[in-house]
Subunit: 248 residues, 2 copies
């Protein structure tokens, strides 16, 4: 993809993700949100260009958010916005933007709808989830109410996949969509080392497309899935046909 990767859908918006969570880095939990976000953004014509995973530590979160929000059109974070002492994402985002943070009335009102007796149940821990950085816009959470928020180009969302996905559903229509890149996959039952030469020639004949080769080993046999991506769709189909002709 080297030369062409960045030019595929060159006017499409770019995005980065920041996964926040010790549990991912310790190996306790397998992240699921990155793969979901990647697929959803690709379908919306938004190019996910970088992902970072950092620990639940404010300096690490601030440094990553600051780097990513300056480099890409959109940033999406997951994790660390619950009620417990280790949920520090909202405060870290406020610090990254240099703004204040406090319990906000609209967020408190949304949380209150979760409880029969908000006076009793909306305890200090739960009110932490209504702490919103100054100037942020709330992101709807139809699963468990506690909202995410958007500040600048950064969308702060939950780590629990069911909630992350629901928040993303709410966010996607608010983003500028690009042209969805066409994609075709061709499975070639050849070792990559034999496919590589002819495939490089095909790639050279289609310089405006991205052609990636993903090797596999299945029951001792080597092969590769070749993925052709780009626009227009007819060009992708023509290149995929050229790739398919390389099959033994």
């Amino acid at each position: 993809m080297t030369e062409t990767g960045q030019s595929i859908g060159g006017t499409n918006p770019t995005a980065a993700m920041l996964v926040i969570g010790d549990e991912i880095l310790s190996g306790r939990t397998r992240d699921a949100n990155m793969h979901h976000l990647a697929g959803q953004l690709t379908a919306a014509g938004i190019r996910l260009a970088e992902v970072r995973v950092v620990a639940d530590e404010e300096p690490a979160i601030v440094a990553a958010v600051t780097a990513l929000r300056g480099s890409y059109d959109y940033v999406f974070t997951s994790g660390g916005i619950g009620p417990t002492h280790d949920d520090i994402t909202a405060d870290a985002i406020a610090a990254a933007f240099g703004v204040g943070i406090d319990v906000r009335e609209d967020a408190r009102a949304i949380l209150a709808t979760n409880y029969a007796d908000p006076e009793r149940d909306l305890n200090p821990a739960r009110l932490r989830m209504a702490r919103i950085p100054d100037g942020a816009t709330l992101i709807d959470n139809p699963v468990s109410k506690a909202p995410g928020f958007r500040i600048g180009n950064v969308h702060v969302m939950a780590g629990v996949p069911k909630v992350f996905n629901a928040m993303l559903d709410a966010v996607l229509p608010t983003l500028r969509h690009g042209q969805a890149v066409a994609s075709r996959s061709v499975d070639i039952a050849l070792p990559e080392g034999e496919l590589a030469g002819p495939l490089a020639e095909v790639a050279a004949r289609h310089p405006a497309l991205s052609i990636g080769s993903y090797p596999y080993i299945r029951e001792g046999s080597y092969g590769a899935v070749v993925v052709v991506r780009g626009l227009p769709e007819a060009a992708v189909e023509a290149a995929a046909a050229d790739v398919a002709a390389l099959a033994p």
Copy 2:
């Protein structure tokens, strides 16, 4: 984990991972190597502190490797070391270190053992897999021969999980191991919002430990898995008992 996360196993080595691959960022492939590496490093007492995922583009790879190798004791990369035109990791690593890269005789000899007729089968594409940056040490690949390599503190490994795992097995004994951090998980069938207050008090009583809360929703019921991590093990067990006492 905020305050205590960095002090857990404070003398343990730190590590970062760099996943290289458009297929992860497009959502076509779900990365498996991060989770495996995280578990293996944790078991070895090495703290995985950051992960980045970047596209198959040299500037992105160079920037990430340069940042990570300066910040952590060890860096592990996965992806982009095959024979096809889109496999650019080795060249990008050489560029990041400012060293030359060429086909190296020892790597070529290893590759040759894969073929009955190396003169015929070791074509230019396959020889790309013997391109090793100057000064690097080879990493054994018992699955498909084509070696990875270590240069400085950066370990360059394959993206195919079976090969990545085998290379990691070869690399782990060469690393400085830390003290494996003790860990206990306690499942509390309480909404995090009710658990949070008492849990913060437990955390405050055990300031040298990391206590993380990971909420879940199962069949409509809210709960949290609380993970206590740190050293010594007896302190972790005492804190886990305090957490367990919070169960309804």
